[in-house]
Amino acid sequence: MSRIPGSRTGPEEGRPPRPTDVLVIGGGIIGLVTAWRAARSGMDVTVLDPRPGGGAARVAAGMLAAVTELHYGEETLLALNLESARRYPAFVAELEEASGQEVGYRACGTLSVALDADDRAHLRELHALQLRSGLESQWLSGRECRRLEPMLAPGVRGGLRVDGDHQVDPRRLTAALVTACERAGVVFRRAWAERLSVVGGRAAGAVLDDGSELAAGQVVLAGGSLSGRLAGVPPEVLPPVRPVKGQVLRLTVPVAFGPFLSRTVRAVVRGSHVYLVPRTNGELVVGATSEELGWDTTVTAGGVYELLRDAHELVPGITELPLTETRAGLRPCSPDNAPLLGPTELPGLHLATGHHRNGVLLAPVTGDVLAAALAGGALPAEAGPFTPRRFSSLSQEQPV
């Protein structure tokens, strides 16, 4: 399939009287934040997507977990994650003001715990890495963990208290972005992009699935895990992004049970990762599997079982909660797990994709970076390591 979210204006499509300044292909969280930021800086923006506000953020838990999700070899990405986390409060305030909607930002912190000696050793290693990286993270005994979160299983052997890893509700965030975009004059065309238009060696818009054309001064490809499949993009520019499936559950904490958990709780349970993200409205998100199965979004018995098994081991009381939703989404993942941000070798074409686990966290910094890139100025320094050119020059045969 070569189609990726594009747009449709209505039954009859009229040729636009003049090209839009910026065409954003893909109206997920990354496309929306890009469109909003570009529109706020004075550009005419059109977003192409059959269902704006959809995509991976509909499924994501919304952890803003720069510190607890640190991995060896991802120190460069850490800097970007921290920078985006730092911008979150102001970003949320501005978005809530612009949209008149709340987005469920909750500065609740995270507790990452271990349930047996092996998992404890793993967590100790993570703690050492966090401290070496200058991050705030406090080691707690099992009892101290349970004093903070009494619903935790008695078997908890220790944990990391990370007060800087917060959460936001990605569904409310994308809904607010749609509203903010509309208020800022962004035009939504509800259709699929069939192919990128390239005129005179420059990205010039897109051909839609109804055959019509949309001309644009600049194009941003923000199609999530589908970004690597848009026809018409020169092969050396096509982002090497693949889908990584994640199954996520939603439970509901009845009012009488509250406060069930007061912060995000996560663990590695015998090698597999599980997290529970409690919202103020009673929603409890349990995630997530990580599967390389292409564009499959089936919810499987095994996926649900493993999540519930591990979550139950961590917080036994979840068995009493209504299971209100099971869903699978696709994380757009690049070969180095980091996003591709900014201009490509094809003049006029920018990328904003490959955010993997961090799309929600990286929304603020992505919006700012893309708005700066679209304005034609120098790319902000924090975006330097994430230029799409890091892949185009080496093609994919060479190691880096």
Partner: protein, 264 residues
Amino acid sequence: MSDDRLVIADTAFDSRLIMGTGGAPSLRLLERSLIASGTELTTVAMRRVDPTVQGSVISVLTRLGIRVLPNTAGCFTAGEAVLTARLAREALGTDWVKLEVVADERTLLPDPIELLDAAETLVDDGFTVLPYTNDDPVLAQKLEDVGCAAIMPLGSPIGSGLGIRNPHNFSLITERAGVPVILDAGAGTASDAAFAMELGCAAVMLASAVTRAQEPVLMAEAMRHAVEAGRLAHRAGRIPRRHFAEASSPVTGLAALDPERPAF
């Protein structure tokens, strides 16, 4: 091409290091690790990968020219394992399979009865079967008897990094086997891999030791050297162990460096 190649079911390999792909931090690090390891044969869990997806693990292996060895990780019964192997054959066009049938999630130890059942079924169905097995010389013999193309005993549980816990069993297996014996699971660092080769293993298979190392690419390179060194040592033949010293320098006769001037 060396004159000491690993041969499994009439297929020869220069590298005696078989890599796994599970737990890789990123596709790019996996790719660099595979290159550094020099591997020519790499396993992929068929339950976790759709081979048709572009940019996936399979396309990395294809690009690097590394032969894909599908495994049946995550199977608890012979029935599941046979089904998974058949789906893998259809999807990848290979009748090679690394057969794993584990008994429980906590230890991931092989279930010997289900394993032997599945091995027999798959061999009869035309598969080239490489079974992940306990370090049990009797079971190893039975797996060879039903027609497995190699025997892959564990040194210690998957991902434990505890090395080879029962070297004597490994010697018993390698001394009697008529097919290649490949250490599977347990290698934590380079010396474990070298030790396996010294014990007569034909190859070493590992994943976590590299993918979960702080510097996966460096560890992959270390493993390549360890396997080569251990193989050479095995072929060279170690010296007998002695209780007391035996001087390596001559103790009689003194060197006369200048024939004109005696040493004394």
